[in-house]
């Protein structure tokens, strides 16, 4: 799904955020990127989201070489991936429903179909009853779940999240991770940047550790039985429904 080959990102100031990074993520994986702030986690995600372009090297996402995605095609490319941000990045002048519907509006999805997808998406994050509320009336955890609902509403194959639990307490963080896990089960590839090692240890997923812009460790973890699929939320039904 994501193939990064010998990627270096050097900023105009001269500091290198990534140095000759090479890594691969298969379809359907759920991968955490860890590391101290400044290790290059965010830069990596920004390269995948085409907010930045690498100084050298090659990034291929779902078969598309990002070097060949022209400036004009960036919007179209971004519609294929879901993005979750630490600061939610919601639009505070409109209700939850409209926030979640935005990617569908951009993609030109018909009204009725959009409404159905928005509700399905809000149901996924347990906020269906709050669709008419404005984001500022919600708690931070709920706002983050709205952000997640927006990221998944157009059912992307790839979801990237930059410190999605950065502002949340441990309980809410675990809740958010469970939601992510559920998407992973239906085939969504997830790449999550986080420095919350304790939380990641509980989940037991593949971990890629970055240090000074290079790969420090890449370890496959056994799935902890307690959080194995199904055991986590005690239901087997299709979360997309």
């Amino acid at each position: 799904m994501i193939s990064i080959t010998d990627v270096t990102k050097r900023f105009p100031g001269g500091q290198e955020a990534l140095r000759s990074l090479t890594m691969h993520i298969d379809k359907g994986e759920m991968v955490f990127v860890t590391g101290h702030s400044g290790a290059g986690k965010s830069t990596l995600l920004r390269l995948i989201a085409l907010i930045e372009r690498p100084t050298s090297g090659q990034v291929v996402v779902d078969g598309q070489n990002l070097r060949r995605v022209s400036r004009r095609r960036i919007p179209h490319y971004r519609r294929q991936i879901g993005m979750v941000f630490q600061d939610h990045r919601l639009l505070y002048d409109r209700p939850v429903f409209d926030n979640v519907a935005l990617p569908l509006v951009i993609a030109g999805v018909g009204h009725r179909e959009a409404a159905r997808k928005v509700r399905a998406s809000l149901d996924q994050v347990g906020l269906l009853h709050k669709e008419r509320q404005h984001p500022e009336t919600l708690s931070t955890g709920e706002q983050q779940r709205v952000g997640i609902a927006r990221a998944i509403v157009s059912r992307p194959k790839l979801l990237i999240a930059d410190e999605p639990t950065g502002n949340l307490d441990p309980d809410l963080s675990l809740e958010v991770m469970r939601i992510f896990r559920r998407f992973n089960e239906v085939g969504v590839t997830l790449l999550i940047a986080s420095h919350d090692i304790a939380l990641i240890d509980q989940l037991g997923c593949r971990r890629i550790a970055l240090e000074n812009g290079t790969l420090a460790a890449d370890e496959e973890d056994d799935i902890v039985a307690e959080y194995a699929p199904g055991a986590m939320y005690g239901r087997e039904e299709d979360p997309w429904r």
């Binding site: 004009r72 919007p75 935005l102 999805v109 018909g110 299709d238 997309w240």
Partner: protein, 319 residues
């Protein structure tokens, strides 16, 4: 588990064109709603545009009315032939009959010195003061109306011939001032045209600046929308529609302003018309002119917002 089959089906909708229209319509109404939520600021902008549009429109109307007023006189290129003081009333009448036979003359009217004095007494306001005059200082006058078949050159020729008659003191072309007046109106109209272009540029700048501020205020929103995959065209659209609404509102309000101005002038014009024996009515803006003003407003609004949006939208990229 795999995604449900319906997630893989193409989205069904009632045709791409209908979807496109609905999308634009909802943006159109959305941007109107946004403007309505800030009624004060919106009204200020609309008023500035309205006044700027109303100014040349009103000036145009002034010229149009002046032209219509002079138009009533333009066809009557009458000569006034003032006869020499020694010419008797009988001679004047014989001369009248003679000139009236000419092919290039439609009709000749004799105004005797006594009639002229009586009219002068009635209309000048000097009244009985004129009774103190020892004798009538006015000559007999023939008012000659050339036949409509005359060309400009033949009228000049006729004028010269009549002026050279031994009984003629001098000939005055009553409508010379109309020609001069029309020439002045031409200049005024051109000046208004130039002014209108400058004011149009002002409207583009005003709307462009308003939209620019709006874009700056909604910078975060634009960034987020672009992150989610919105194209430049998508984020530009609501701003273009704002410009359209400003222009439309300004155009309509300009029409109202001009209409109110006409209404306020009506009594004064009626009085003037009464003094001249009636027959003159103030012309208002025609349907085409009104539509033209609104269309110009919309066009300027769109251009202003387009310039601002095109300039600033590219610069706002997600960080």
């Amino acid at each position: 588990m795999k995604p449900t089959p319906d997630a893989l089906l193409p989205s069904k909708s009632s045709g791409p064109l209908a979807a496109w229209a609905i999308r634009h319509l909802s943006t159109l109404i959305g941007s109107l709603g946004r403007l309505a939520r800030q009624p004060g600021a919106t009204l200020m902008t609309v008023m500035v545009i309205a006044v700027t549009l109303a100014l040349p429109a009103a000036m145009h109307l002034v010229v149009k009315n002046a032209r219509a007023m002079s138009g009533n006189w333009e066809n009557a290129l009458d000569f006034s032939m003032y006869l020499k003081p020694g010419v008797s009333l009988g001679d004047a009448e014989r001369l009248r009959a003679l000139i009236a036979q000419r092919a290039d003359v439609e009709q000749v009217q004799l105004i005797s010195a006594d009639e002229a004095l009586a009219e002068f007494k009635a209309q000048s306001g000097f009244g009985s003061a004129i009774d103190y005059l020892a004798e009538n200082p006015l000559p007999h006058t023939l008012v000659v109306r050339p036949a409509p078949t005359n060309t400009e050159a033949s009228v000049v020729l006729l004028n010269e011939e009549l002026a050279n008659l031994p009984q003629t003191d001098f000939v005055q072309v009553d409508t010379e001032w109309v020609q001069r007046f029309l020439a002045i109106l031409d200049i005024v109209q051109r000046a208004i045209g130039i002014g209108a272009v400058l004011l149009g540029a002002a409207i583009i700048i005003i709307i462009g600046n308003t939209i620019r501020l709006d874009i700056e205020n909604r910078r975060d929103e634009i960034e987020v929308t672009k992150l989610i995959g919105a194209s430049n065209a998508f984020v530009r659209r609501p701003f273009l529609y704002s410009g359209l609404w400003y222009g439309l509102g300004g155009g309509l309000l300009a029409l109202a302003l001009v209409g109110y101005g006409l209404y306020a002038l009506q009594p004064a014009v009626a009085r003037l018309s009464g003094l001249y024996g009636g027959g003159f009515e103030l012309l208002s803006l025609g349907l085409r002119e009104s539509l033209g003003i609104v269309a110009v407003g919309v066009l300027l609004g769109l251009s202003g917002s387009w310039l601002a949006a095109a300039r600033h939208m590219r610069r706002i990229e997600p960080r």
